[in-house]
């Protein structure tokens, strides 16, 4: 009897091990543990056994059933693992093939540059002021201490809309608007589109973009301007950049300076971009001319300020080195996609 049972267990194990497909294993289970299987029959027959044998045989039969069930479970795991492995092998694919289409857009290099500039000054607590592109002659010139008869006001440089109205030639008129609209302290930058009566070529465009800066507060010095612009230049062009001031002339600032940053391409050794000087001009700036402050009724002994202005196109050019300004307005995707971020 016992030998008989051992044989059954051996046969069952052999059959289970021999099943390599899920279906075959299921078949084996039915054959070994199903309603008509020998083991099931025997288990069912326990009740007919003499009472003194029931305990031992019943225990032994149940042990065998549990062992078989464990063997099936183990085999099931093996089969599933192998089938999964085969499935995965069938799934194998060249993962270097291109992916599904996810449309990729992007921001124009001028927007990226504008945001970079804005963010640097926002970090210093500045706000962003805006003004109209069709602007009063008064704001564009007179309020900025640019006298009548100045060549910039002429028919050759300025696009006029109506008597006393022009397309702003710089973002500086927003200085005048801000000074009238807001009590100092004032810390603003003014990004925007400006116009000149220039024929488009590699270095000129009738339309371009500037960022103006204006600070008016008590005790503002030229040294504050230098520190602010040095911070700006390092933020934009790298921590090693040096900044220098050259005295210059603008009607609405006095003293006026042009600001150079040490060349970030050649590190000061001299290259084509810095014209062998080691320095690159990035913007014009100065202390707000007392005439400009007095025109809005500010006491120039109490309030001082500085202003600066830069071309976004120029900054973008310095950072990215494209050869022709017109590329910025052609909107050729082959150009735009070169500046993803």
């Amino acid at each position: 009897m016992a030998d008989d049972l051992e044989q059954l267990l051996r046969d069952a194990r052999e059959r289970i091990q021999g099943a390599s497909l899920r279906a075959a294993l299921e078949e084996a289970r039915v054959a070994i543990l199903g309603r008509n299987a020998e083991l099931t029959q025997r288990l069912r027959g326990i009740a007919q056994l003499p009472a003194d044998q029931r305990g031992a045989i019943g225990k032994r039969l149940n042990e065998v059933r549990l062992q078989i069930e464990a063997a099936i479970a183990e085999r099931e795991q093996q089969v599933a693992a192998r089938e999964l492995a085969e499935q995965l092998e069938r799934d194998r694919i060249d993962v270097t093939l291109p992916g599904a289409v996810v449309p990729r857009g992007g921001l124009h290099v001028l927007t990226q540059t504008r945001r970079q500039i804005e963010d640097i000054f926002i970090g210093l607590g500045y706000q962003i002021a805006e003004g109209p592109e069709i602007e009063l002659e008064y704001n564009n010139f007179t309020a900025l201490n640019i006298p009548d008869g100045h060549p910039a006001k002429g028919e050759t440089d300025t696009l006029w809309i109506a008597p006393g109205v022009c397309l702003r030639t710089h973002t500086s008129p927003v200085q005048a608007r801000t000074l009238r609209a807001q009590e100092p302290p004032i810390y603003v930058i003014v990004p925007g589109r400006v116009y000149r009566r220039d024929t488009p070529d590699a270095t000129h465009s009738p339309i371009f973009h500037q960022v103006e800066g204006l600070v008016v507060d008590r005790g503002i010095t030229l040294a504050d301007l230098k520190g602010t612009l040095a911070y700006f230049a390092r933020s934009l062009f790298g921590a090693d950049r040096e900044t220098r001031f050259r005295t210059s002339f603008f009607p609405f600032t006095e003293p006026s300076v042009e600001v150079d940053v040490s060349c970030f391409l050649c590190a000061g050794d001299g290259c084509g971009v810095c014209k062998q000087s080691g320095w690159i001009e990035i913007l014009g700036a100065g202390q707000v001319d007392p005439n400009v402050l007095a025109m809005v009724g500010l006491d120039t002994d109490e309030w001082q300020g500085f202003a600066f202005g830069m071309g976004i196109e120029r900054i973008a050019f310095l950072k990215h080195g494209f050869p022709d300004l017109r590329l910025l307005y052609d909107n050729d995707l082959r150009f735009l996609e070169q500046f993803p971020a």
Binding site: I161, T243, R246, T247
Partner: protein
Amino acid sequence: MKVPVSWLRDYVAFDLPLAALAEKLVLSGLEVDRIVTRGAPDVDGNHGTFRIGRVVEWARHPNADRLRLCRVDVGEAEPRQIVCGAANFDTGDTVVVALPGALLPGATEPLRQAKLRGEVSDGMMLSERELQLSEEHDGIIRLPDAYEIGSEARDHFALAETVLEFEVTSNRSDLMCVYGIAREVSALLDVELAPPPGALPEALGRRPTSALVTVSVDAPDRCSRFTARAFDDVRSGGSPLRLRQRVAAAGMRPISNVVDITNYVMLGLGSPVHAYDAAKIPGRVLTARLARDGEELTTLDGRHRVLTTDMLVIADGDGPNGLAGVMGGEGAEIGAGTESVVIEVACFERAGIGRTAAALGLRTDSANRFIRGVDPHLPPQASAWVAELLVAHAGAAMLPKPQDVVAALPARERVVLRTGFAERILGMPIGDDAAVRILDRLGYEPARVDGGVETTVPTWRQLDTTREIDLVEEVGRIHGLDALPATIPARHDRGGGLDRAQRLRRTAEDVLAGAGLHEAYTLSIVDGDQPDRYGLASDDPRRAMVAVDNPLSADYAFMRRTLVPGLLQAVRRNRASGRADVALFEIAHLYHASEGRVTADNLAHEPWTLGAVIAGPLGGTSWVGEGRESDVFSARGVLDALCGRLGVAVRLEPTQLAHLHPGRAARILLGSDAVPAGELGELHPDVAARFDIEGRVAVLELDLDLLAAAVPDRFTHRDISDQPPVRQDIAVVVANDVRAGDVIAAALEAGAPLLVNAEVFDVYRDERRLGPGRVSLALRLVFQDPERTLVEDEASAVRAVVVQALERRFAAELRG
């Protein structure tokens, strides 16, 4: 402004290297464009190989008609044989000879003894151009006989000259001359400045100046000063080599002794000078007056010019003789036969010269200086210097009683500089001593007063430095801005950062880019045909564009009222380069004005506007599959992405617009107030054809200011329900003019509050099954009670209510 360094050294001594000097000048406000050295390289004793020689004899080269075989004495035992191509010399002439071994300007190899057509040439006789003294190359240099034979040429003139090329800012008229730049150098280096050049010679003439000319001013507001001197016995000829050399190095062409001297004085002192042949001044009068309409004049450049009444002329007894301050007339040109000369040194009003020069396209050296402004005190000094040079180099006799018609000279202003104020503006210490020293070097005649310095503005700075703040700049720039500390002002008063509209605009940019569109920058000035090209209806308000008064060309004549045509142009360009998928957006201003009319009292309305176009499969194609072909729903999807991101409800209202597909165009209504804020649709095929674009083109244009206004001020928190939603789908058949948007709205209304969402997930048309003109909309309904779990039956009851409502309102039939 080009300044020969040897000339600069006439007025100020310095031993600092030129590069260091240039850097100081640059930082103080005088831009140095280039430093250029002209002439023979000054290396390895090269300059010693250029000698003064004398032509002992010459004969025609036996083998070449155009060459001469010469024997030239250069102070050696025997004359050297030199073959020469020039023909402007004769036996006995004094010349410049380069000996073998000499390195000529621009040469890479030294000169060698050579055989030219079979004859030995043991050196070279030089022209001015070969020595880079000037552009002159009609013959070799002939020198005065007084030069010692065999002496080194460098003892008599400079074989090399270094030239500083400056770019002078428009406010610094005083730097348009060598002496003015010397004054800057003197201040920067704190060294002595020589007195201004020009020592008046003794008047020797037999007759007074008035015997040759009488000057007068008829237009005093255009001519503040008119001086004249006259000279007899002028020997017209070439000017001394050194003078020619400097004039050429400064960028002007040497012409003759009289003309070169006038230019030399202008370059040296900054006051333009004009010379007349006294015999060619009819009536012996010169009057500064406005031209009469239609008067004519041939200027020195040989051009015939018709004058207008805004142009100032110098007129003689017969009419205009020259264009005042711009260019003289051919009539009184100095020539070989000139014996008596009248020298005019005058001051003309800046803007008038500017208008005349611009009208005639004549930006002469003289006009350039007058436009910047010439010191009215300067003409007598310049006139004296001209006289000194004419006497010295043209043998002239100066006539007595020069003339000077001068209006009241502007009073010299006194300005006090508070040193403390300067330090407060600059943010660095200066000190009284430094302020006085700097202002003294610059000619301000400073005197110490309590707390600062009192100055008298120099006559040459009266256009420029008349206020305390101007003196702050003077002191700061000479003291040196490189000494400025770098500080950052601390700001305590209020917060910074983007305002709400600016922040939302950035979000819009990011959403559009994230949706797969590239940002474009198109030109905001457009041509007048744009509305026609875009196909706008004849009554479309966007036809009324603001016009530019003085456009550069017809292509840039109007301020745009729509962004889309510029973007379509960009699509065309990209399609032309073979790109199928082009999706672009732009965020920029438009310019609204009623009837396109703008006045100083009524400027344009300039709303921030979004324009977008999508043409072709968005995102392109891949082996995995293609992006979706563009149609009206591409635009709708982008709009929904934007409005969804900003929390703005959006509704579309079908519309007819001439430039859009008649069956695929809609007005955009924003927010609960349904504010009309733009349009979207597919481009009308006729318009697409005009832009050479194939396929459906989705377009979208939206007023971003209105969009920003529709964004809720704040988004407040709502509790999220953990109760599971129940989803049920229905399909209703409606007439195909029923709008899906209306069906959704009606369903949500009828199913509230348990129906929390309804979406169209399928649209099905089949005339056979549904009947003509019918369409099936499949809706997914989502029911939820925030407080408890809904059972299917409760959801079904609400669904039945919804179905009933749709049947009632749209005659909808429930399908299946």
